[in-house]
Amino acid sequence: MNAATKWEGVDKVVVEKVAAEAGHPAREPYINTDQGDLLLCLFLVAGAIGGFIVGYAFRALFPPRKKAATAKPGSGK
């Protein structure tokens, strides 16, 4: 495996390769965001928004457990 294909997605090295060999190569997306660092930016934004939603919902569904109040001996409580 050369450097150009190292760490490529399996859907690309398998799916697109098979399709190209069968005469149906992938075409560019209708909305092509894979230009320069645009895709990286969108991945980060999408990951951040998705992560926020997961975190917000997780906090709502699984609030932190409250620790039982521990009274110190001799504190009068």
């Binding site: 005469g23 149906h24 209708y30 909305i31």
Partner: protein
């Protein structure tokens, strides 16, 4: 701005957006499936999406709290299914699906809906998959992934298989079934004069080195997450009528 200039600006904007340039998409990418096959997979996916929407509507009417879990699962599937995981000894990356876990937490119908939304957003924003191949991707990841996980989990629980093992098997087989369906979609559309089964087996063999370990890892993640929810908030699963049978903490 008058109507004439609005039309010019809209045309130029659309032209810039649709200008063809190379892309590196994942899932079944744009243009791979002939249009008749792409349309057929939309027809297959449509009733499942409708069923999922109907289920969500029913569940929302019964218990609005369930929607928070649906939203969390949807966002998790979106993030998980576009997250490339490197497999060091192969040198490639692949992504888990998350629909197995989704099916165990919110049921298969809602999982189809949230997976469809995730795949649509990935196709629109992340050059991930495609709009014409959306139906095929919904069937493989959303429909098959969710139904295999749900059906297998239910079957194993009927056999009294412990919860953790049943959830692990469901998550693992859900991942593998998704890729087996992708292989089927490709070989059905592209085998030409060759053998359908030979092409299907060849694609499966190509997926296997990466997807075998990733499926096992997804199985463990599914089992751990399912057990966490069951231990912390079992009523969340009980809130879903078709998931009540999943309750219980044996195993």
């Amino acid at each position: 701005m008058d109507k004439h200039w609005k039309a010019v600006v809209a045309s130029v904007g659309l032209g810039i957006v649709l200008w063809p340039t190379p892309a590196h998409a994942m899932h079944v990418s744009e243009g791979i499936l002939p249009i008749d096959w792409a349309g057929a997979w939309f027809l297959v996916a449509a009733p499942f999406v409708y069923w999922g929407l109907w289920t969500i509507k029913q569940r929302r009417a019964e218990d609005p709290r369930a929607m928070t879990l649906v939203a969390m699962v949807g966002a998790a599937i979106f993030v998980i299914s576009c997250m490339p995981v490197p497999i060091p000894w192969i040198g490639t990356c692949s992504h888990p699906c998350g629909t197995g876990l989704g099916a165990l937490l919110i049921g298969p119908g809602p999982t189809v809906v949230v997976a469809s939304i995730a795949l649509l957003l990935q196709a629109l924003l992340l050059a991930h998959g495609g709009l014409t191949t959306l139906g095929a991707n919904v069937v493989s990841m959303g429909v098959v992934g969710a139904l295999v996980a749900y059906g297998l989990f239910r079957f194993l629980r009927l056999l009294r298989v412990p919860l953790f093992a049943a959830a692990l098997a469901a998550g693992m087989l859900s991942d593998w079934a998704t890729y087996a369906t992708t292989s089927l979609e490709l070989s059905a559309a592209l085998h030409g004069d060759g053998s359908f089964w030979a092409m299907w087996a060849a694609i499966m063999a190509a997926f296997m080195p990466t997807q075998l370990p990733l499926g096992i890892a997804e199985g463990f993640v599914t089992a751990i997450a399912y057990r966490f929810v069951l231990e912390r908030r079992p009523e969340l699963l009980g809130a879903c009528p078709d998931l009540r049978w999943m309750g219980g903490t044996d195993g």
